[in-house]
């Protein structure tokens, strides 16, 4: 089909070539293409001819773009532009430092968040880690996973279809003692030999556990980690064959595992989980997928066969199976989602920083309009102007990224060291900078380069050459540059969102921090004591120990005070179900819950907790006398609306036990003893003598000149039971600090994030306003010459500077209002209701506005003092 002779080549294709191909060449190129197009039209439809034209254009566009890039690298233009960029950056050191610092600060936080996520979710340090999976049962209703029973594991083990190896383990934390070292509690775990097959980890000395170790009646064997081998045996080879005691059993050490091994988390001793595993025991299951099998396929097979297992406790309608990569299962998929959500939030900081630098570069670029126009008019083209500006941004971003990675690594290292000191750093956590982190920083850097440099550069080159050359450099004001004021607005809006969110988070985090100074902590040493069932078989044995310890410490003249308690002040404890006599509940599950603390008689005295009504516990409140309880003010407010609790009987039900009744005999003030969300926690205290605790914490203080509390305590305990280890020994201060760590770290993290956002917004705004004001000296001079007063000029500059701030703030508040409930609920696990905290929504705009006024007022004041004669003469 022939086409009309008037058909024209696609204009956009021509424009594309005009942009890419050098001016000297583009005309002859288009001459050929146009003729080719005309000839095509003679024999073909215009649609096909146009398609042909576009195809030729795209080939040429790609080829010429390649030629241009090659030319930049081979012609020395890149070197020249880089030199020019470095010179330009050195000419304005203040601006460069501000830009580098801003980007460095902006990149540190998200890079650190990325580094932490990467470390916590690093792959297991084993062969083909993606084939190592955790197999759990899943409650379909709640979506929660739970460990399989011994019988289910045995059924899976009998038909390990889809798995190359399958193993089970259970945490078995016990005190360990051996030749030459005193009893100590180390994280230990019982594993089936299958676990070591799944992990394919070799010992550094000796052997691993085999099926013969797991056989019924076989001698008990254990593996210990290299660091324990060092501590206990000075790396002597005769450690193999040495006997260690764990609980009631004696184990022979048969292998030393590498220091880098800590399965399942940060464990140091592995013993055998013997066959057959008790049907009702709960075990965690781990498997290595057979080659070529996917997680989904294996999971489907296990779900399908769940009904056929013949386990009466499993109803396939309510229970399913979940197979997940081991690390993801261990850390929790939700944690991963939360961390990425937080990272996204933290990522806003980079956007603010980049917008900040972009605004600075744009402000500077707008003052160079005539220089830009000159370069473009002398044949350089837009590219020649954009290139050096882009390189400047690249240098600044690269330096910022360097600071970012360095800062991130410092934060990740600090976090790793803290977790390691507490023994909670998972053994797979790789704290080295990963290629992923570097790639992440590189992406941030390139993004920042585009936002901070290339966009302002393109904007700068969109000038009317004639107009720009006619005008001299009179500078620009923030309101005459829409992109500049938009950037300031965006920056303020983002800062507002980040500040609101982080303030909500900080409030939540600080709420969990126990109040310092509410109870005496100085000189108080605490330790945990666990009376293992094999050694203390009945209530009488345990009571004898607790009362023996009390007598022993009472009789020690060096002890100033001591007490036993299920939890010390400031430390968390478990809840129990309670029902006040006279109230009735349809179901036992509906009983209200209350914090339950088991304490010894001296507890209230030792921590200055004043009894406000009734009495404290006495030695007369023994096991055979009627049950008594003391409640705190918060409990009275919560349960009784402030009415007197004395004489009331309360039924206390622990998990799976019959309720026990106690008469409330006292009320205690406990300001700050335990707080949650900033509120005092309602608590019910029960006497140690009337309970049967296996595990209690002891607190001791010594008199001046007497031996240290640890010495006294160790002597007292070893005189009663030399095999009982003192566990988690720490001062009360350290205990409270540890309890507060989570809140403090979160508070610090979000606090610094919010502060950084505020700081960046202030610095950015100040930079832009100061720069544009200094460029408007001439205009201000004219204003002053025409009779404007200092106040008029001040108001003018303030108004121009604060207008985009106001708009940004309004947008930011609106976004925050709709975002905070989601962030509170999904990311911070906070109550949604507190998301719209009036204090936060009042405080943040006030802070930002004060910051903005602070940022604008200095340049405004300096502008108002412009001497009209000097300003006009300078022109």
């Amino acid at each position: 089909m022939r086409t009309s002779p008037d058909a024209r080549p696609p204009r956009r294709a021509e424009q594309l070539l005009e942009r890419i191909v050098e001016r000297a060449e583009v005309d002859t190129l288009l001459a050929d293409l146009d003729e080719g197009f005309t000839r095509r039209c003679r024999v073909d439809s215009s649609v096909r001819a146009r398609r042909w034209y576009w195809r030729q254009t795209l080939i040429l566009a790609v080829a010429f773009a390649g030629i241009r890039i090659r030319n930049v690298f081979t012609s020395g233009a890149l070197l020249l532009d880089t030199r020019r960029a470095v010179r330009s950056l050195r000419r304005s050191p203040g601006l460069t430092l501000a830009a580098v610092g801003t980007l460095g600060l902006g990149m540190s936080a998200p890079s650190a968040a990325f580094g932490i996520i990467s470390a916590m979710f690093s792959p297991l340090p084993v062969e083909e880690p993606d084939r190592v999976v955790a197999v759990d049962l899943l409650d379909r209703e709640s979506g929660r996973t739970f460990a399989a029973s011994g019988s289910i594991y045995s059924a899976w083990q009998a038909r390990p279809d889809g798995f190359e190896a399958l193993g089970a383990y259970d945490d078995h934390d016990q005190a360990v003692s051996g030749p030459g070292f005193s009893p100590v509690r180390v994280p230990s775990v019982r594993v089936t030999p299958g676990v070591l097959e799944v992990l394919r980890v070799e010992p550094v000395l000796g052997r691993t556990l085999t099926e013969s170790d797991a056989a019924p009646g076989a001698p008990r064997t254990a593996l210990i980690r290299e660091d324990l081998w060092d501590d206990w045996f000075d790396r002597r080879p005769d450690a193999l064959g040495a006997e260690i005691t764990m609980g009631p059993d004696v184990f022979t050490v048969v292998g030393i595992m590498p220091a880098s091994f800590g399965f399942p988390e940060a464990h140091q001793v592995w013993t055998t989980l013997r066959s057959p595993i008790d049907d009702y025991a709960q075990v965690d299951v781990i498997g290595r997928l057979a080659d070529g099998r996917s997680i989904e396929a294996v999971e489907t097979r296990l779900i399908g066969s769940l009904g056929a297992l013949g386990d009466s406790t499993i109803d396939p309608a309510h229970t399913s199976v979940e197979v997940e990569e081991f690390v993801v299962a261990q850390q929790g998929r939700r944690t991963l989602t939360l961390l990425w959500g937080l990272n996204l939030l933290v990522g806003l900081l980079v956007v603010i920083a980049a917008a900040n630098v972009s605004a600075l570069f744009l402000a500077r670029g707008l003052t160079r309009t005539s220089e830009t126009a000159l370069r473009m008019s002398t044949g350089g083209g837009r590219w020649a102007v954009i290139r050096p500006l882009g390189i400047e941004a690249f240098i600044v971003s690269a330096l910022g990224a360097g600071i970012g990675v360095f800062g991130a690594q410092a934060i990740v290292g600090w976090m790793g060291a803290t977790l390691e000191a507490r023994g909670t750093l998972p053994y797979w956590a790789d704290l080295e900078p990963s290629p992923g982190l570097l790639a992440f920083a590189l992406t941030l850097m390139l993004g920042a380069t585009v936002v901070a440099g290339v966009i302002p550069a393109i904007r700068t080159t969109r000038v009317d050459l004639a107009d720009a050359l006619k005008r001299d450099s009179r500078g620009t004001s923030i309101d005459r540059a829409p992109l500049l004021s938009t950037l300031v607005g965006v920056e303020v809006a983002l800062a507002c969102v980040l500040l609101v969110t982080s303030t909500v988070a900080v409030r939540g985090a600080l709420g969990t921090i126990q109040k310092a100074g509410a109870f005496p902590t100085e000189g108080v040493l605490t330790a945990e004591l666990f009376l293992e069932p094999f050694a203390y078989e009945d209530t009488a044995a345990r009571r004898a120990f607790w009362s023996g310890l009390k007598e022993r410490l009472d009789g020690d003249p060096g002890v100033a005070a001591h007490t036993l308690a299920s939890a010390m002040p400031g430390d968390g404890t478990s809840d129990a179900w309670i029902a006040i006599e006279g109230t009735s509940w349809d179901r036992a599950e509906d009983w209200p819950r209350s914090q339950r603390r088991v304490v010894e008689t001296g507890f209230f005295d030792m921590f200055d907790m004043e009894i406000s009504a009734g009495r404290a516990f006495t030695d007369a409140d023994g096991p055979d006398s009627p049950g008594v309880a003391v409640v705190n003010d918060a409990w009275v407010d919560e349960q009784l609306g402030g009415a007197s609790p004395l004489g009331l009987v309360v039924h206390v039900r622990e998990r799976d036990a019959e309720p026990v009744s106690y008469e409330i005999v006292g009320q205690v003030r406990d300001d700050g003893v335990s707080v949650d969300d900033g509120e005092r926690v309602a608590a019910l205290f029960l006497p140690v003598a009337q309970r049967d605790p296996e595990r209690l914490r002891i607190a001791v203080t010594s008199r001046p000149g007497a031996p240290e509390p640890l010495e006294t305590l160790t002597a007292a305990i070893s005189s009663i039971d030399p095999a009982l280890p003192l566990d988690r020994v720490m001062t009360l201060e350290a205990l409270v600090r540890r309890e507060n760590d989570g809140g403090r770290v979160m508070g610090l993290l979000f606090g610094s994030l919010g502060l950084a956002a505020l700081l960046l917004a202030i610095v950015g705004l100040h930079g832009v306003v100061a720069f544009s004001t200094s460029q408007r000296r001439h205009a201000i001079g004219v204003m002053r010459a025409l009779g404007a007063t200092e106040t008029t000029v001040l108001a003018d500059v303030l108004g121009r500077g604060l207008r985009p701030v106001g708009i940004g703030l309004a947008v930011g508040l609106a976004v925050s209002w709709s975002l905070t409930p989601v962030v509170s609920r999904e990311l911070l696990a906070e109550a949604e209701a507190r998301a719209h905290d009036p204090l936060v929504f009042g405080l943040v705009p006030l802070l930002l506005l004060s910051g903005a006024v602070l940022a604008v007022v200095r340049p405004a004041l300096s502008a108002s003092r412009v001497d009209p004669v000097a300003a006009l003469k300078a022109e």
Binding site: P9, E25, D27, T28, L29, L30, A31, D32, L33, D34, E35, G36, T38, R39, R55, Q56, T57, I59, L60, A63
Partner: protein, 107 residues
């Protein structure tokens, strides 16, 4: 023999320019090559090759007057330089000697 390699397509383009004498430009070279090779040769590829051969010094470009057929734009014609002719002659003799060594094997 010079620092540049003569590619197969470049070889064909040089021969087409020689053949077209004074009328060698993008469109005419493309049409001749399409005709002789019985393939749809991309004009963009021809243009880029002409440009490359000019950079190598084997072609010389001449900007001709503006013509209505090329949308009123100046057309660029090409001629083979002495260096280009030498390169072609060398390529021809190389090919001839290579072919003679093969003899009748492919026929």
């Amino acid at each position: 023999m010079g620092r540049y390699i003569l590619g197969e397509f470049e070889h064909l383009v040089l021969l087409a320019v020689l053949q077209l004498r004074d009328d060698a430009y993008g469109v005419s070279v493309t049409e001749l090559l399409s005709e002789q090779t019985d393939q749809d040769v991309a004009q963009a590829a021809v243009y880029l090759t002409l440009r490359r051969l000019e950079k190598k010094g084997w072609l010389e470009g001449h900007t001709a007057a503006r013509s209505p057929s090329s949308g009123g734009r100046p057309r660029k014609t090409y001629s083979v330089t002495a260096e280009g002719r030498t390169r072609l002659a060398h390529a021809q003799s190389t090919l001839r000697s290579m072919w003679s060594a093969i003899g009748e094997e492919l026929s």
